[in-house]
Symmetry: C2
Subunit: 191 residues, 2 copies
Amino acid sequence: MKLLEDKIAKDGTVLPGNVLKVDNFLNHQVDTKLMDEVGKEFARLFKDEGVTKVVTVESSGIAPAMMAALHLGVPMIFARKHKSLTLTDNLYTASVYSYTKQVSNDISVDKRFLDSNDKILIIDDFLANGQAVSGLLEIAKVANVDVAGIGIVIEKSFQKGREMIEEAGVRLESLARIASLDDEKVEFVKD
Amino acid sequence: MKLLEDKIAKDGTVLPGNVLKVDNFLNHQVDTKLMDEVGKEFARLFKDEGVTKVVTVESSGIAPAMMAALHLGVPMIFARKHKSLTLTDNLYTASVYSYTKQVSNDISVDKRFLDSNDKILIIDDFLANGQAVSGLLEIAKVANVDVAGIGIVIEKSFQKGREMIEEAGVRLESLARIASLDDEKVEFVKD
């Protein structure tokens, strides 16, 4: 998505350790017009898949998931993150490891909101090692829902998330794919 | 807002302890069409106030804040919640007490995103005792930004948040105002 790549090139900042800082338009301050276009693009890509719900993880996934779901005309669910719970009878849960924070947290979705008639589109702001997506795929499996695909705003293609998703046989659409952040420069994957 | 009141009456559940559960359309699963209407209504109410940014707190405020900001044509910022930090040089922070969880957390906004030319609209999903709003008002004061007003999706009018905001002299617009949840029934404030 050219609009998004241009925005990343112009306003993104590369920090040491392969960190791409985009908190000025994606995950702290949000460029709402851009997010609307992001949502439209996800809707265009997945419009023929029979998506019944869009699912993401709080908090940074909510804005793009909201816009994708609005343009698809379906509800959006954001999985909650929390420390491991003892009472989980009414929840689908999965454990998600954060490489950045080096801790595991549970994510959960209330069982009332997913059933075997659902076909979900998973949306997230970033794909790096694929831990959050992996947790949502685990929840989808236990809930017995179909997965139409995964939509990512920014993919770090040099990390292993894409490989994991391809191995799982799930369709992946990333609106911007970053080949490298070496020398503090953003290099996109060539089409 | 009739559409919202009807939705609360139909799909909200009252739990003991004056808890209104609306996780099926507002703060876990989100009715995206309703949220679009909520955003339009906030934009209509505040369109003449010169709002430059919409500010909320993660996570449940993000969806209504996103839609309000989109319809106002401005960026949206979601303050981050976290344990108290030691390094806060680049952040505006405030402490927010949660009556539900009985803990205090800090909320923060990066200093790059607010300056004295800004006029913000504060949006949140719920207003009860006004702790989150109070934290955002504190940040606005330290950042020296004007506050155009506060937009709330559901106000529990029997708790003290409204009084606090009125005492602060800030305009408050709540799309649904709940007078009472006694006997596990939702009673709205009469116009």
